[in-house]
Symmetry: C3
Subunit: 203 residues, 3 copies
């Protein structure tokens, strides 16, 4: 398809790398919570970095006629990778805004699902850029499974929240963070859905 | 357009059938609430059934060159039918997660609007698959009216909630279910909007 | 491109005019709050007016082969202008539904950002309809800056809310209005993003 590393593929790889880095930083931060202000600030920087990649891809799409995969697929992948990053950053910022100081084992479990999802995304994107489409499928399946796990986890932890937490303001904080984390795994599944349709149309 | 029943049209009909069945089950469940765990579980099964239809349509779209109506319209219809189902299932699961045991007359009213909307959707989809486009219009108009009713109902019940409910956790639960029900009627209106644009472009 | 004022451009200008009027009415209303019911009712009327323009554009798009800019861009602009209006109206209606009687300086600050955003949108749309694409860029930059301001403002006011407000029901009301106002500036940024891609593809 192309000789020198295509700008779209190169930037998608950089987005996937940044995502893995950001999600690992997030998982580390939520199991620590020593300085939520610094934690939220650093996540915001990584989110801005990801925005730059999105901007690069949009700019290139607008001036390039021939793209290595369909324009809509590049656009959809970029948007969903950016949505994953936005979701993680929005959660991190809530720890600061809500003055959360205590660890929460459910959040740790969500963070673990997100770390595993980000690695699956990265593996799949690197296969895409090497035009190895069929092997992407197993990562898509894993992403779907991880999203199902997050969905089950949400049901368990919201149910537990309404059983055990009597302080409504505490409940509001936790509920929103759990829901945002689960929605972020939905964005990971969107990446998988786009990749699956690329596989189907090209094999 | 085609002789044997087209796979897209057949699957859209199956989705509409499942939707009617699911919404009627939902309306029955919320006026009963004897076993919210079984209720949520059964709704989840119907939602998975609907996901299978969505998957069938996506797979066929990716391998078919000639479609009975435009690909984007099939995609938009499938997505909005699936969104209606997801919305209803999400509400059902909240009855379980929030340990709701008491009936709520506003929820019954929303459920009634959704039952009527699902029947309008089913009638319109069956007209579409018989290529009777113009008669779809009256169902689209009904769907718009039902969405307006749900919007008015939301305003009434949220206002009532903030006047009458003093327990914040109770308020959080009811508010979210009302809002999700209203948003589900927005998804029904999305079905109508797609059908209207099909009518306009083909008549 | 065309002689008599194109219907799409004319209607987009009317939407932008209505938006400026609505957002200024909103800013005035939230600094006043003497009659929230009348305030919400008037905003709903302006939102319906905007819906009519949206409907006009959709109808014309479905029967017109040649459009002054790409169909997808007209569609995206229309949708995001309509989303801004819906966002402002949804906030106004919450003042009524939540029986809010006291002014809130943060809401006044958000309203000010929205007034400035609506004027930037109007200026940009009028440049678009005169085919002066490059000068639109400075308005897009301003819209991005205003969205960043709203994002920072949200973080400040949510943090303040969780520090200072001890009544959970009061907190629920304010939090939702702040978040909806911030999301409305995201919709303003969507207008800017569409305009920027029009500039890039046509210069």
């Amino acid at each position: 398809m192309f000789k020198k590393k295509d700008i779209f593929f190169k930037t998608l790889e950089e987005m996937a790398d940044t995502l893995v880095k950001a999600v690992e930083y997030f998982a580390d931060g939520v199991s620590n919570l020593s300085d939520v202000k610094a934690f939220a600030k650093r996540m915001k920087e990584m989110e801005s970095e990801c925005d730059q990649y999105t901007h690069t891809i949009l700019k290139e799409l607008n001036k390039t006629f021939i793209t290595p995969i369909e324009r809509e697929d590049i656009m959809a992948l970029t948007t969903s990778l950016d949505d994953v990053m936005d979701g993680v950053e929005a959660c991190a910022s809530r720890f600061d805004m809500y003055h959360i100081k205590e660890k929460d084992e459910y959040i740790t479990l969500f963070a673990d699902i997100l770390v595993r999802s980000a690695h699956q995304i990265k593996s799949a994107i690197y296969l895409l850029t090497q035009k190895k489409l069929l092997p992407m499928r197993e990562h898509c399946i894993s992403l779907n499974e991880l999203e199902n796990q997050a969905d089950d986890l949400l049901r368990v932890c919201i149910s537990s929240l309404f059983t055990n937490v009597k302080d409504p303001i505490e409940l509001i904080k936790r509920k929103e963070i759990y829901e945002r984390l689960e929605q972020t795994t939905d964005c990971c599944e969107d990446v998988a859905n786009t990749l699956e349709s690329i596989i189907m149309r090209n094999s």
